[in-house]
Symmetry: C2
Subunit: 338 residues, 2 copies
């Protein structure tokens, strides 16, 4: 079985974006507000045909599916804006997962708002896990959208949320959203920077001593981290911090959203196989076909298939690690021996 | 000959930091201001013994030498603060280069200040190149120190400075300084993020069409870029931008400040050899010895020596490319055939 731990609902019916556009317009002109228009099951089925087609063509089975990350945009409006938008997005994921239970399992967006306490996020996580059957969440380390005004992920500000994650036994993918800072292209800079930033924060603090059961997935192959693995090993050593392999063992995981063979080869060469989860980010950041290979850039399964690793490690990366990091997935799949 | 394009004067006599401390204290209490204390030539000679020892032990010949990057701290004080501090730092580099002309050639810090026009930077660059014999500069894309309030490097805000760079025929290394944002560890996050950010900015705009002779070095192995080379190729393709290899050819270069063999191997595998300049960042970000190899993490020459590349490419990386990107270096070295 091949589980893709990183898929976003980037192909939702346009009714969802129409609601969002009206919601944003209503921030300055309340008369613009519109309820979310009804969407039929057939519309939803139709909307995920691209994902289903890619699963089938590429030989993947199940996608850990969450709302479109760039559209979370926690910097827009206030706490109510974020909550209303988030609940609609999560409810839609829930419907898709109900229509295609063999193909999708849900991960939620969180109703974050800059400088706000995390009570809404705790409640929404609980709702999504307990009522909607979700298995994890996407946590935005920079709800300001590129101005980095929140405390580091190791700050006690986040601890109440981590307590709930541990209680529910769900991990978080550390995932920023759109950038409203003109310095940062979203998928080309802000995403990758956030991944790198989060990892360095984890090196600097004792978060995983405080929460031994907390699990964080750093997407996009861990940002710059594997490429600079020697720098991070050396910085940790200079700072008299634990070895990276020990620090990450039970707590920090990277996906395989790296869109060329050389990058995947590096990832698999330096990061322990137990800490790598197969992911593709499809349909997402890069949509084209690589003229050098004739295949989609984001067909990351091909790179993992071609990598010089053992079959046992490949099985871990494709399935076992994701079952371990997102254990509630086993409620869906049954506790198949792996 | 082996030229290290990336060395900072991190070992300056403590008189320099004492001046800086007093300068900062004087921002709130003007009575704290102190002039820079005199430093003898012997003090300066002594201060660079670590660099000279590493050059000798590692087999490098000449270091392109600039003030300590993390201490530039353009966010502190006002334009006069930045100018006074910068000139002292550059003058000290000039003295070291005069004492060891075979070992060091100067690159300047710039007196940047958030939101200020670049007139001071233009004047200081001209002074350093014409009067002090410097061959390039370090340009900070985020003088706010981690809040990214400046316009992107492709914005016309920077154009007057680029005009001066082209006129003087000197390149800039894109290099941030200390972070005052608690999210960003300086050398572990802010530096790497800035490298990644700058590269994506270059993809998005026509800067090098406007300035065909402008040359930028992205340090730290290009941040996350080589690891995500497929992502950047794919994003450029989706955005209908030029091929990366064409975009960077005469304008964008990466150094080799990547502190493990796997990282250097990736860099050399995906980035054209013509766009890679040997660098080590010594004495700098990571100071320890890698227990896996028994050698200093930042002894990057060992990785380049061990990489599976042709001798011709190795010569380009060690010498030829740096002579091409920093052509004023040839005034020092003579136009040796390479």
């Amino acid at each position: 079985m091949v589980i893709d731990c990183h898929g976003h609902y980037t192909t939702a019916p346009q009714e969802l974006q129409a609601f969002r556009d009206a919601q944003i317009a209503a921030l300055t002109d309340p008369s613009q507000a519109r309820p979310l228009a009804a969407m039929s099951d057939d519309q939803l089925r139709e909307s995920v045909q691209p994902q289903l087609k890619f699963q089938s063509e590429r030989g993947t089975d199940l996608t850990v599916f969450s709302p479109r990350a760039s559209a979370m945009a926690h910097h827009i409006g206030d706490a109510k804006t974020s909550l209303d938008w988030t609940r609609h997005c999560n409810d839609l994921i829930h419907r898709v997962c109900g229509l295609f239970p063999q193909n999708f399992v849900g991960v939620c967006q969180l109703p974050q708002t800059p400088s706000n306490p995390l009570a809404n996020c705790i409640a929404e996580l609980e709702r999504c896990v307990k009522e909607l059957g979700f298995i994890g969440c996407n946590l935005n380390p920079d709800p300001s959208g590129g101005y980095w005004s929140a405390p580091p992920l190791t700050d006690r500000y986040w601890y109440p949320f981590y307590e709930k994650m541990v209680e529910l036994d769900v991990p978080a993918m550390v995932h920023v959203s759109a950038s409203c800072n003109p310095n940062f292209h979203a998928t080309g800079a802000h995403y990758i920077n956030a991944d790198t930033t989060a990892f360095m924060q984890f090196i600097q603090a004792d978060l995983f001593e405080d929460f031994p059961a907390l699990r964080m997935i750093i997407p996009h192959g861990g940002g710059a981290v594997p490429y600079h693995w020697g720098r991070y090993r050396g910085l940790a050593q200079d700072m008299k911090r634990p070895l990276l392999a020990d620090m990450i063992r039970n707590n920090v995981f990277f996906d395989t959203c790296v869109y060329h063979q050389a990058g995947i080869d590096l990832l698999l060469r330096v990061v322990p196989a137990d800490n790598i989860l197969f992911g593709s980010e499809m349909v997402g950041a890069v949509r084209g076909i690589d003229p050098e290979t004739g295949h989609y850039y984001d067909d990351t399964k091909r790179y993992v298939d071609a990598a010089a690793i053992s079959d046992g490690d490949r099985r871990k990366i494709f399935e076992g690690n994701t079952r371990r990091v997102y254990p509630l997935i086993n409620n869906k799949l049954g506790a198949v021996a792996i």
